[in-house]
Structures are given as C-alpha cells and as structure tokens.
C-alpha cells in the first residue's frame, strides 16, 4: 500500500514539475505541441484563401485580426505610453471596428514552425530570407495590389527586393543592422570597431566573461564568418566549420549566448561588449536615459569594419489565415506615412517607408547607427535562404556550443 502511495506521489509531483517547467516555455514550445493536431485541417484549402484575398474590396474587413509579431515590435499598451507614441493596435481597432489579438515570437524559425503547423494567424512578420523560404513552401498568400495602395510609400531600395521580387507576397515593415553594442572605454574604437573585440583572443582578453553573442545560428555564425572574411550566406562546409570552431574557441570568454535581453545585460554591467540588433540597443539607451543621465554618453553601437548583416522584416499573410481582407487592410494601415513614422519613433529601426520620413524625428534620421552612411551600406549583406543547407548551420552551431 505504501508503495502505491509513493508511486502516486511520484506521478503527481512529476506532473507538477513538468507543468511548472513548460510554463516557462509556453511562448516557444508548448503551442507548437498542441497545434500538431490542427495541421491537417488547413493544408487543403490554400487556393481558397488566395481566392478570398483576391476578392477583397479596399478597406474591407472580414473579422478580427490575429497578428503574430516579434516581441515588442509594435507600439501598444504600456510600451507605447512609455515611448509616447500612438498605440497602433488600438488605433487600428478603433478605425476599422475589429478586434486585434497580438501574439509574439522571438525567432523566425519559431514563427515558421507555427505557420507550418497550420495555426491561423492573419499577419506574420518574417525577415527577408524567411520570406523566400515561406514563398518556396507555398505558405504565403499573394497580396492584392488594390488592397495595399500604400505600397507606393515604400522607398526604391525596398520596392523590388531579391527575397520577393516586386513585393508580391510581402510588404517591408522595418529594417536594421546587426552590430556591436558596447560600453565606451571597454574597447578601442578609434578607427571604428572590429569583430576582433569578440573573436580575437588577445584583443578580447581584457573583457573575458563580459561579452555576449546572439543565440541565433544564422546571426552568430554570420558574424564569425564576416570576421573570417567570408560571406554570411556561404554554403561552403569548410567555411562554416571554421566559423563554428571560432565560436567554440570564443565560448570561454563569453558571459552568455542571449537574444532576448542582451541589451539589459549591457546596461546593467553584466557585459561590456554585445552582439545585437541596432534598434534593441538604441531603444534601451533611450529607455534608461533621464534628464540627468544620458546613456548615449556611456554606451555606443557600431557596425564592425569587416562588414555585418542587414535585414528587412516584412508583413505577410500566411495561407492558414482566416481573415485575409482584414489582414490586407491592416498591412495597408501599417504602410501609411504617419503610422510608419510612429513605428520608427518607437522601435528605433529604420523605416523602408519613404513617405514616413517627414514624420520621423530628425535625430533618428541623422543617426548613422539607424540610417547607415552610404559607405557603410556597401559592407552590409542581407541574409539569404539557404534551403537544405540551413540544417548544416543549425548543427554546426549546436556543435560549437558543445
């Protein structure tokens, strides 16, 4: 009898333990697991959604909007208040009389897994290489040009992107760069910043234990590839292996691999050098600045001399969407000049929206870490989808982390 009681206690506690653990990962793993059963239902009527999307009339809404966006990427709620910008979610709800449900993710691959499983989001925000991957997999609905006339606001630089020629499936949302955020005085930045401050054992020795890299196979491997002088879209196994070895050798000097709070680690002194995205750093510097304290005097962001990654995030409609008209109306809303400017004034990423520039704060437009100088533009490289080779990057990165 006692044995049975213990067995029951074991089961109950194991269940409790598992429950507790999965709570922490609900944003990533748990939804995927529950949605597997939903997968078969949405695979067949892909053409149906495309037909519905084509039939929409300008300004039409066909029900509520399920928006799947990166964490904190659209101003809403307390963050909008903190940054003193319009709450764009509420604005859209009020203007069109529909309800918006916002869910957030922190990596393209996590988003793709959800869409692949058939979860019915109406608008997603994939980055460049992910757009071409999703187009290849027939996961995106073609936009109806009559529904998104504001596409004309997009600057020439982004009107015919290689990942989606003619922006048929996607509309540019924001763009930015990957670089190094650092505390002044911790590294030598007289002649610009080099990736050596992370990857060279001698140059980075002084900051051992206070360096962070992104936890992202394409980005982290990409910076190592750039330091080694290779393309960050290389499909040479030897080059990728070399980059993986470099990351492995760098590991002992790192504080952490982190993609979701590296900016706070930097400004709280847990790191002094961090690889990351420009908007995250600048947003953080702005957030912690007060009338007496100017964080920009203590911290900086630089695109390394060896070159780095540039990326565009876009809005697109997955084939599992249930409200394609509301989705297109929303995309058109977001492409508006003033709305586009609100986005940049909020998240400190550059806007692909040319018409928005007159509403963007001048100090943002003139900041080279947000709008890079022409000569910097030349050393930036966009990520491309590598098809089958993607797994090679994932495995090499796992191996590098050991």
């Amino acid at each position: 009898m006692r044995r049975i009681t213990i067995l029951l206690a074991v089961l109950a506690l194991v269940a409790a333990a598992c429950g507790g653990d999965s709570d922490d990962t609900t944003t990533t793993a748990a939804p995927g697991a529950t949605e597997t059963t939903a997968a078969p239902t949405t695979e067949a009527p892909a053409t149906g959604v495309q037909a519905d999307a084509d039939a929409c009339v300008f300004g039409e809404t066909d029900g509520e909007l399920f928006l799947y966006n990166w964490t904190g990427y659209i101003p809403t709620g307390s963050l909008a208040e903190e940054f003193e910008v319009r709450d764009l979610v509420v604005d859209f709800e009020e203007e069109f009389g529909v309800n918006v449900t916002l869910t957030e993710y922190d990596s393209n691959e996590v988003m793709l897994a959800q869409i692949d499983a058939g979860v019915g989001y109406d608008v997603v925000v994939p980055s460049d290489y992910m757009v071409s991957q999703m187009i290849d997999a027939d996961l995106l609905v073609k936009l109806n040009p009559a529904m998104v006339p504001n596409m004309a606001n997009i600057s020439d630089l982004f009107s015919n992107p290689p990942y989606d020629p003619g922006n048929q499936f996607s509309a540019p949302y924001q763009w930015g760069t990957t670089g190094i955020g650092y505390q002044y005085g911790s590294i030598d930045d007289e002649n610009g910043v080099s990736w050596a401050v992370i990857f060279d054992p001698d140059v980075s020795a002084a900051n051992t234990g206070f360096i962070s890299l992104l936890d992202d196979e394409r980005e982290t491997m990409g910076s190592a590839l750039k330091y080694l002088g290779y393309s960050l879209n290389t499909t040479s196994e030897a080059e990728v292996d070399e980059a993986a070895d470099l990351i492995k050798a760098t590991k002992d000097r790192l504080a952490a691999f982190n993609s979701s709070s590296y900016w706070t680690l930097l400004t709280t002194g847990e790191t002094v050098v961090a690889q990351g995205w420009n908007g995250d750093f600048l947003g953080e510097f702005d957030r912690i600045s007060t009338e007496e304290y100017d964080a920009y005097e203590e911290y900086g962001y630089a695109i390394p001399n060896e070159g780095s990654a540039a990326w565009v995030d876009t809005m697109a409609i997955p084939t599992s969407a249930e409200h394609p008209c509301t989705a297109q109306t929303f995309i058109n809303f977001m492409l508006g000049a003033e709305v586009g400017a609100e986005l940049t004034n909020y998240n400190y990423y550059a806007s692909p929206n040319k018409a928005a520039e007159e509403f963007i704060y001048p100090e943002i437009l003139e900041d080279p870490s947000i709008y890079p100088l022409p000569e910097t533009m030349e050393i930036l490289e966009f990520f491309e989808d590598l098809g089958d080779f993607n797994t090679y990057y994932a495995d090499a990165f796992s191996a590098a982390k050991g």
Partner: protein, 301 residues
C-alpha cells in the same frame, strides 16, 4: 454467543465463491467508474501526445523543415549515436546526477530534523515553509536568483567583501545553485514522509543493544528511509535531466544540454523527427529505470 454465530455466518457467506465473484465484479465496476476521469485524462493528455511524438520520430523532413508523415524511416533514431548527441547526453546525465546528490546531501539532514520535531504544529510549519516557494512561478524565482548573483547582487557583494568569490552569474556554480534551489523540495518531501512514518523504537532497540549512534543510523534509519531516498532521487533526477530554463538564465546558455537541444530541434533547426526521437529515447530510458526500481528496490520495503 449470537455475535459469534453472526460472524461465522458472515464468513460462510464471503467464502461462497459465486457471491464473492459478483461482489468483486461489482467492486471492480465501481472502481472503474471512479477512475474513469483519470483514464480519460491520461489517454487524451498523456498517451495520445506520446504516440504522436513516437509516430513523428519515424517521419521525414521536407527541404524547408516541414515534418512529413510519409517516407517512414529510422534516420532520426540512427542519429542518436552521433558523437555530438553522446556528448550532450553524458553532460546532461552528469549534471542531473550531481544535482541529485547535492539535493540528497542537503535535504536528508533537513528532513531528518523536521521529522524529529516533537510538536506536530512545528513540523507542519516547517513543511509549509518548504512549499512556500511554489506559490510563485519558477521563472520569476530564477530571475530573482539572477539578480542575487549578478555583479551588484548581494551574494556577489558578500563574496567580494570576504574575497572568496567574484560574480557567480553565468558560471557552473550559478547553475547548480539554481537547480538545487528549484528541486530541493522534491527531495525533502518524500524523505520527510519516509522518516516521519519510521518506527523510532527500532532505533532505540538498536541503541539498547549497544549500537553506536552512527551504526544505528547506518543499520536502521538509513535502510528504513530508503524508499524516500529513491523516490526523492527520481523526482529530482528526471526534471534536472531536462533542465532548460535554469542553465539558460543562470548559465548563459553556453553549453548545450538535452533540454535545449530538443527545443532547438522543434524551433530553429526545424527537425521534428529528430526532436521526437530524442524525446522518445529519454522517455524510454526513464521508464525503464522507474520500472526497474519498482520491480526490485520498491519490493524490499
């Protein structure tokens, strides 16, 4: 006299095989109805998901990483023998075993101490204290540890003041502090249950027969608390093997552990079949270990 007769009659009745069988059948039906919600729950939320995981482990992966329920193969299971997987498995097991031992070393004296308190109310109070941390979310508590261990944290300040240690955040000790903290209650509770139910007069008898304190402990207390030790160890070992949040937040995600590796397969690597095979393999090993325990160790109690 009459009572004896009645008892005899009752005995006769219960030894009537026909009646007994029908009574037992009725009993088992009632038991089934009582357990029905549990059966349904376990089938829908436990067995079915596990079956799905098992089926996916034989599926194939499309070029874009979509799991495809066709082209059934054993590739994912074959990959379990790769050196990288072996390294990760060995590392995770080492960490889980070490954490279990640490928890046992800390929890045993503590559980012993609680169980030997004379007043019931004191014991209850101490047990509640063990459970209080569960009132708040595990993630929140792990972040709290991050603040204690970071450069400005109290623990770092104490270390710097005494000159014994520096910043602990993002080091192996930080991970173990987080793990021991998180799983200690799972060790304390079964140990307490075993020790509290123990017949202390056996220890007294041992001492009367001139056993020294340590010897009485080794020969009597320890064997009698064995079920608690084993149950506690299983409870701590299994979740530490899949620990994912603690190494990520307190260790800086610098080494790949089984938990992170599986999450990667379902996230960025987009290899659901391989992730399923990994999960399935761990589950299978754990199940074997638990069954082995209940068939051997469990029986001696």
């Amino acid at each position: 006299m009459t009572t004896l007769k009645e008892r005899k009659g009752a005995q006769q009745e219960s030894s009537n095989p026909k009646l007994e069988r029908s009574a037992r059948r009725r009993e088992s039906w009632r038991g089934f109805f009582h357990a029905a919600p549990a059966y349904v729950y376990l089938t829908v939320f436990f067995t079915l998901p596990l079956l799905i995981v098992f089926v996916f482990s034989f599926a194939s992966r499309s070029r874009t990483g979509r799991p495809e329920l066709e082209g059934w193969n054993l590739d994912s299971w074959a990959r379990l023998g790769e050196p990288l997987v072996r390294t990760i498995v060995v590392r995770s097991f080492t960490m889980a075993i070490f954490n279990t031992l640490l928890c046992l070393l800390i929890a045993y004296p503590f559980a012993y101490w609680i169980a030997t308190r004379a007043r019931q109310s004191t014991r209850t109070l101490l047990l509640v204290a063990v459970l209080i941390p569960f009132w708040s979310n595990f993630l929140v508590r792990t972040y709290a540890w991050r603040m204690l261990l970071d450069s400005d944290g109290y623990i770092t300040q104490i270390g710097e003041f005494t000159g014994l240690w520096g910043r602990m955040l993002f080091t192996a000790p930080a991970v173990f502090i987080g793990l021991v903290y998180g799983y200690l209650p799972f060790m304390v509770l079964p140990l307490y249950a075993a020790l509290e139910r123990m017949d202390w007069s056996l220890v007294e008898a041992g001492r009367d027969l001139f056993a020294s304190g340590p010897k009485a402990f080794r020969k009597i207390t320890l064997p009698l608390s064995k079920p608690g030790i084993i149950a506690g160890s299983i409870l701590v070992f299994i979740p530490s093997l899949g620990a994912y949040v603690t190494p990520d937040i307190l260790g800086g995600a610098k080494t790949t552990l089984l938990g992170n590796y599986i999450v990667t397969q379902f996230g960025s690597a987009r290899n659901w079949p391989f992730g399923s095979a990994l999960s399935g393999a761990i589950l299978f090993v754990m199940l074997l270990a638990t069954v082995a325990y209940f068939r051997t160790g469990g029986r001696t109690v």
